[in-house]
């Protein structure tokens, strides 16, 4: 299991491949479910030029570790990876990577879905958008 909050940009597919090589036993998992969230250039009707992501250091990592452990208890998941950006982002930058590995796809999908939904509704991150007209805090996440 790996939880990381990172200031620098990351490439999610490289991260998944590197983690698989490092942490997973070849042949043990028949399924990997991966979610990647990427910054969009539009928010409602407004064009977004950039975004700043803040978090509550310490609480974030604690919360993400707890939900990863919960996912591994609730489903027969072999491993889980959560990587989340903070700092200054541009449209197209990956924001979050969530991956869950299991013997079969149903458990991998369920665990991955649980992790991203809990992260979006409970993990202490906040987005501040830079629009042409100025800056604004995002006040709520999209429902799905």
């Amino acid at each position: 299991m790996k939880i990381e909050v990172r200031e620098q940009p990351f490439e999610p597919w490289t991260e998944v491949a590197a983690y698989e090589r490092k942490a997973l036993k070849p042949g043990a998992c028949g399924a990997a479910a991966v979610f990647v969230g990427t910054m969009r250039d539009m928010s409602g009707d407004d064009r977004v030029q950039a975004m700043r992501l803040e978090h509550y250091a310490g609480m974030t990592e604690k919360h993400l570790a707890r939900i990863a452990e919960e996912a591994m208890r609730r489903w027969p998941v072999n491993d889980a990876l959560i990587l989340h950006r903070v700092g200054d982002l541009k449209p197209g930058d990956p924001i979050v990577l969530v991956a869950a590995w299991s013997a079969h796809r149903a458990d991998a999908f369920a665990a991955c879905r649980f992790l991203i939904e809990d992260l979006k509704s409970r993990a202490p991150f906040w987005k501040k958008e830079q629009l042409e007209a100025g800056v604004r805090w995002v006040e709520e996440n999209t429902p799905g």
């Binding site: 803040e54 978090h55 509550y56 310490g58 609480m59 924001i95 979006k120 993990a123 906040w126 709520e140």
Partner: protein, 77 residues
């Protein structure tokens, strides 16, 4: 007793500070500390509270050395 109060995201901007150490009465609740530190500002109804980096109700009592954080709804992912 001593309590560390943190404001995050838009609340840090609103109050112009991220962290303040305060002297508080024994048994004080999170929302009472909010009132003490903000000069009696109304807490926005959607404000979330964490004590020692765990979600908590705003009516929960604090202990000496606790860290209480106030923040708006989260928007990560």
């Amino acid at each position: 007793m001593r309590v560390k109060v943190k404001f995050l995201a838009s609340l840090a901007e609103r109050f112009g500070r991220r962290e303040v150490d305060v002297n508080a009465a024994a048994g004080v609740t999170a929302e009472q500390v909010w009132a003490q530190v903000t000069g009696g500002a109304a807490m926005p109804p959607n404000t979330l509270v964490a004590i020692n980096k765990e979600y908590a109700g705003r009516g929960k009592s604090l202990a000496d050395g606790d860290e209480v954080a106030f923040f708006p709804p989260v928007t990560g992912g």
